[in-house]
Amino acid sequence: EAGVVQSPRYKIIEKKQPVAFWCNPISGHNTLYWYLQNLGQGPELLIRYENEEAVDDSQLPKDRFSAERLKGVDSTLKIQPAELGDSAVYLCASSFWGQRGCLQEQFFGPGTRLTVL
C-alpha cells in the first residue's frame, strides 16, 4: 500500500516568492492534515480537512498561507509571499474513520523541506 505522497521533497526560493506544496493522502483516507516542523522541534498542526472541508485552521497564518482540497483527495498548501522564517519542513498526514466512528492513527508523508533565502 502506497503511503502519503508529497512533492516536491525539497524547495529553495527567495523571500517574497510564492511556493506551493502538494500532498496525495493514502487511498480511502478522508481526513488530511498539514503540519509545520521547524528544525529541532515537533510538528505543529496548520490545518485539518474532513473531505473538502477545513475543520481546524486556527493555526494557519491566513495572511500569507492558504490551502485547498477541492475534490476531497489531493491537497495543496501555498505560501505567498514567503518569508525567511517560513524555512521548515511541511508535513502532510492522513487518517480515516474506523468502524466505530473513531478517527484512526495519522500516517505522515516524508515532508517538503523549504528553504527561503
Binding site: 502519503v4 481526513t31 529541532g40 522541534q41 515537533g42 510538528p43 505543529e44 498542526l45 485539518r48 481546524d56 508535513l91 498526514a93 487518517s95 474513520w97 473513531c102 478517527l103 484512526q104 492513527e105 495519522q106 500516517f107 505522515f108 508523508g109 516524508p110 515532508g111
Partner: protein, 112 residues
C-alpha cells in the same frame, strides 16, 4: 504555550541498554498519547500509543508507562539497538485522530 514537555533533548545509550524518554502534559482533556519515531528525511511514524485507562502498554521492546495523576508518560526501549537511533516525539490529543500536540523531540543515539 508548550502543552507537552519532553526530556531529555538528546540521549546516548550503549547497545543492549535501556533508553528512557519522558513527557509531561498540562491539558487534562488529552486522552490519547502516542509516541512517534522519525528518521532523517522521513516523516514521523507511529511507534506505540496509550490511552489513560491503562498504566502500561508493551509492544515488543517498546513500553509506555503512564501516570495519570502526575500527568506524565514515558517511553522505554529495552535492549536498544543501533537501528533505534532516531528522533522520538511524544504527543497528545483529545481523541484519536484529532490535532496532535507534539513534544520537542529526543535525539537518541545507540552506540554499538
Amino acid at each position: 504555550q508548550q502543552q507537552v514537555k519532553q526530556s531529555p533533548q538528546s540521549l546516548i545509550v550503549q547497545k543492549g541498554g535501556i533508553s528512557i524518554i519522558n513527557c509531561a502534559y498540562e491539558n487534562t482533556a488529552f486522552d490519547y498519547f502516542p509516541w512517534y519515531q522519525q528518521f532523517p528525511g522521513k516523516g514521523p511514524a507511529l511507534l506505540i500509543a496509550i490511552r489513560p485507562d491503562v498504566s502500561e502498554k508493551k509492544e515488543g521492546r517498546f513500553t509506555i508507562s503512564f501516570n495519570k495523576s502526575a500527568k506524565q508518560f514515558s517511553l522505554h526501549i529495552m535492549d536498544s539497538q543501533p537501528g533505534d537511533s532516531a528522533t522520538y516525539f511524544c504527543a497528545a490529543s483529545k481523541g484519536y485522530g484529532n490535532k496532535l500536540v507534539f513534544g520537542a523531540g529526543t535525539i537518541l543515539r545507540v552506540k554499538s
